[in-house]
């Protein structure tokens, strides 16, 4: 067990969560981060889906990495990812139908998520299955954290709710004589981009050595 949780592996796990965060530092996977974060629930499901798919495609590619013909390695990686995404998409449709409707095409678009292909090509092709699994989980979670933060802010300010539960009471609203108005901008993808920008700003301000 000592080897499984060695210092190097700890580093593999920790770095994508913070110093090498796929969204905040590498600026990958922005497309879906903007599209599915209007509410918290789809953001979490999307984050979990990406985590699961990255982890397992990493493991599979890592297991077969020595047999993959070099010339078609990208195709092999794509086929593995596409197969996993199709399976996850089918499972979502069968068990959380309303969320899969909300996520619509973005589940399918996980295939083209740069985080996945990036991790497969950069990590799983030259590391063992366990390290690759850790790397996949950590990168998926690093992506999910950003999605959850953005989803939280957008749902709270845009709809006045969290997980669909009303947080801002109706009596505060302008329509009902209060002085509060939901920020409709928050429901738009443009605002998500600004929020992601703010997260990157805060992240860099905190990690001074990342400033280029």
């Amino acid at each position: 067990m000592g080897k499984l949780f060695s210092k190097e592996n700890g580093e593999v796990f920790k770095s994508p969560l913070n110093l090498n965060n796929p969204v905040a530092v590498q600026v990958l996977g922005i497309c879906s981060a903007l599209a599915v974060t209007a509410q918290l629930k789809p953001a979490i499901v999307m984050g979990l889906s990406v985590t699961v798919i990255t982890a397992f495609s990493n493991v599979i590619i890592s297991l077969i990495r020595k047999t993959i013909p070099n010339r078609i390695r990208i195709i092999v990686q794509l086929v593995v990812v596409a197969a996993l995404v199709t399976i996850v998409s089918n499972i979502l449709k069968a068990y959380v139908y309303d969320v899969s409707v909300q996520l619509s095409v973005y589940v399918g678009l996980i295939i083209t998520n740069c985080i996945l292909m990036g991790r497969l090509e950069a990590f799983a092709m030259m590391n063992g299955p366990w390290e690759s699994f850790l790397d996949g989980i950590a990168n998926g979670l690093g992506y999910a954290i950003v999605l959850v933060i953005v989803g939280f802010v957008r749902e709270l300010l845009g709809f006045g709710s969290i997980f669909g539960f009303q947080i801002i009471p109706d009596s505060w609203l302008l329509d009902n004589g209060g002085g509060y108005l939901h920020n409709g901008m928050m429901t738009m993808p443009a605002m998500a981009l600004i929020l992601v920008g703010c997260i990157i700003w805060a992240h860099r301000a905190y990690n001074k050595d990342k400033i280029q």
């Binding site: 499972i91 068990y95 139908y97």
Partner: protein, 235 residues
Amino acid sequence: MGKLNTNGNAYTIIYASIMVIIVAFLLAFVASALKPTQDENVANDKRSQILAALRIEKGSDYDVQAKYAELVKADPVYDGSASVKAENGGFAVENKNLTKDNRPLYVAETPDGKKYVIPMTGAGLWGGIWGYVALDDDCETVYGTYFSHESETAGLGARITELEFQSKFQGKKLFAGDDKSKIALSVVKKGKEGDISADNYVNGITGATLTSDGVNNMIQKGLSDYKDILDSLKK
């Protein structure tokens, strides 16, 4: 056995073939194993939409299938001459297959009396929209509506799915006064009502004029398409 030459042509081709076959079997297995559950979800979603038109709020906690079976008594399909071509099976007609010769109607018995639910489809600003309009058994008064969309703007056009907009249609009349020749029910922009009677219009959603127009066109066309059936039901 020495080290495999993983760069040879034969190896590459065989590798790709085996991989594709394995993946194909895997996906076919998953898809066929989950298909029944998925179809059930789609059907339940459609049931809950029809129930939403019958004033049973979507998303509230109830057993969709039981409630649907309790309320919706028949789903006949009508042909081009407004006669019933199938007593049942309207539910199986997908919205995209709605044609003049293939018009399902849902007949429901609610605590408020007999209702007819008419399915309809149209075009919004960015993509398709669809809906269900429930009518009282005088075939003139709207009992409830449900609208949904593929990809209208969140917070603007997408608000046609909200109860606040849908419930505005309750109690509105299809026809203007005694003129039963054409559907008068419409969605109009606030301030553009003109001389339309308050019984015949609903205000559109502010900031979503094109989606509102889409709903207007859908309602007018959808109800006009069913007018002969409604006439025959009235007799």
